[in-house]
């Protein structure tokens, strides 16, 4: 069990700030680092992996600073975004070389186990140059897993994967997280993160915009208007009651159902049943219209 701690980490390149005073703790389980392109995800991962010095602040792994401490790689596995590998060797040779570089007691067994984990035993004797993008990604995973690391850092691991490979990798990451490893992956695709990450760290324009599971992130943003779609026995009368009560700003009947936008989640969800009962209206369905991560994210980016 390992924990990565970022303490007031900033990184700037000349006048450009890539990471701005980021403080986060990444513990065991799967954590998704979510943000649009250019948010500073790769910069942050590079600093976590000891490949970039923070301009300010510290990154520590179980209390040890990661910058200029190659010893951390005994417990850290890294899956870089760059696709380039040693194209002229076979997958087996490359993973085995990685095992040897780690000075593992039994490099062959370790390489075999890693290749089995990523399901690449069948193609292991082909040159890496002949692999598809998804296969290369799996070999990259195998090199990162070969020394059984407690921490796994993956930079945009789903890039270029077809849906089947994507599902396979999602299962693998979930499995690794359940084993108690600290798994962090970056992505700009919301569904991926939502699907497997127990914790989400949202990065927007270099700033740590939100943290938690996605429902919590959602709740954190109390100033954000919440939207509901409601079906009831009398939408029109309910709309009038809601707007008269003042717990919602907007009611909209144009789409057929009653769409409501409320500034405060707590006030509205308490007011709605009361209003319905007082007006003698039966509520058939109340559903949040935008609980998907996508809308949370869009809101954060726009803010």
């Amino acid at each position: 069990m390992s924990t990565l701690v970022l303490d007031h980490v900033s990184r700037w390149y000349g006048n450009v700030v890539a990471a701005n005073d980021v403080t986060m703790t990444i513990g065991p389980g799967v954590t998704g680092l979510l943000g649009p392109n250019g948010a500073g995800k790769s910069t942050l991962i590079a600093m976590m992996g000891g490949f970039l010095a923070p301009s300010a602040g510290t990154v520590t792994l179980d209390g040890t600073a990661v910058w200029r401490h190659p010893g951390i790689y005994r417990s850290v596995g890294l899956v870089p975004e760059a696709e380039a590998m040693y194209d002229m060797v076979t997958g087996w040779q490359f993973v085995l070389a990685n095992a040897r570089l780690h000075r593992l007691p039994d490099p062959k067994a370790a390489a075999r186990a890693a290749l089995e984990t990523v399901d690449m035993m069948d193609a292991k004797d082909r040159d890496i140059a002949t692999y598809s993008k998804g296969m290369k990604q799996r070999i990259k995973m195998a090199t990162a897993l070969v020394h059984d690391p407690a921490v796994l850092l993956l930079d945009e691991p789903f890039n270029g994967m077809d849906p089947r490979q994507r599902l396979h990798l999602m299962d693998l990451l979930r499995f690794l997280g359940e084993q108690g490893r600290t798994v962090l992956f970056s992505s700009h695709i919301l569904e991926e993160v939502e699907e497997i990450a127990g914790t989400i760290e949202v990065l927007v324009a270099g700033r740590h915009a939100a943290s938690g599971d996605f429902r919590r992130i959602r709740r954190l943003m109390t100033e954000r208007p919440h939207q509901y779609t409601i079906r009831s026995s009398d939408d029109r009368r309910l709309a009038a009651a809601i707007i008269a009560d003042g717990s919602a700003d907007t009611v909209d009947l144009t789409s057929g159902d009653l769409a409501v936008q409320a500034p405060d989640l707590g006030v509205f969800v308490h007011a709605l049943p009361r209003l319905a009962r007082d007006s003698g209206i039966r509520l058939l369905e109340v559903s949040p219209a935008d609980e998907s991560l996508e809308s949370v994210f869009a809101y954060l980016v726009a803010r």
């Binding site: 005994r74 890294l78 570089l101």
Partner: protein, 242 residues
């Protein structure tokens, strides 16, 4: 040194298409020395011209540039060096391993063909061969170390290396006397001058610097390049940008 780093490096160096140049350039030199033999009838003075102008002046720095960039620059450029750096292996071990491969390759594909070319185009008692073996070996050590360091320091190592090899060593060295004192080729030639003794001036093998100074300068350059390469590799920035 680490055998795994060395074998990956060697495969990376020889497995790329660029490696063809490492064969073509020496073949070109051998062909030229054959032509020269035919034209001059084995005169050592014309051998010296071919060696100084083409072999030491152009071919050797170019080969060392290809090798120096090939052992580490390419990996830094495409990012695959991360697989070596993300290991509990000291960075100086990585530099030494790569340098060892580069040096070994340079001896085989650059220094040996130069000695062969000397023998083909014309030698006396194998003295010229010995002299140029020493000179080419020393120059190869220094050039390779410098270009390895350059590859770690900048992504533009090829351009800068070419400018250095072609402009500094060849053109500027020919016109500006002071530049010749700061030239790997001139330093290395001091060894040939020393080995040839009296015959050096007869055949036109001269160096701008004394033998002792040359050795010190070469050693300083090599050590400086290695230290620089190790230090820069320890803080190598590896991000493709976000």
């Amino acid at each position: 040194m680490n055998p795994v780093v060395m074998s990956l490096t060697l495969r990376g160096l020889l497995g790329r298409r660029r490696a063809v140049l490492l064969v073509l350039l020496p073949v070109l030199l051998i062909a030229m020395s054959g032509l020269l033999r035919w034209a001059s009838g084995g005169d050592p003075v014309s051998t010296v011209h071919l060696m100084n102008d083409f072999a030491l002046g152009t071919l050797l720095p170019l080969m060392c540039l290809l090798i120096g960039v090939g052992v580490i620059g390419t990996e830094i450029d495409d990012g695959s060096i991360v697989y070596l750096l993300a290991k509990p292996v000291p960075r100086r071990t990585i530099v030494w391993s790569k340098l060892a491969v580069a040096w070994g390759t340079a001896m085989v594909v650059a220094v040996l063909p130069i000695v062969a070319a000397v023998e083909i185009s014309g030698d006396q008692d194998a003295r010229l061969g010995l002299a140029y073996a020493a000179t080419a070996a020393l120059a190869a050590l220094a050039y390779t170390a410098v270009f390895v360091a350059l590859s770690v320091v900048t992504r533009n190592a090829v351009i800068i290396g070419l400018l250095y090899a072609l402009l500094w060593e060849t053109v500027l060295g020919g016109y500006v006397p002071g530049v010749r004192n700061v030239s790997v080729r001139q330093w290395a030639l001091a060894a040939a001058e020393r080995i040839l003794g009296d015959r050096a001036s007869v055949w036109g093998v001269t160096s701008e610097v004394s033998f002792t100074a040359a050795l010190l300068l070469l050693a300083g350059t090599i050590i400086g390049a290695i230290v620089l390469a190790v230090r820069r590799l320890q803080t190598l920035r590896l991000t493709t940008g976000d």
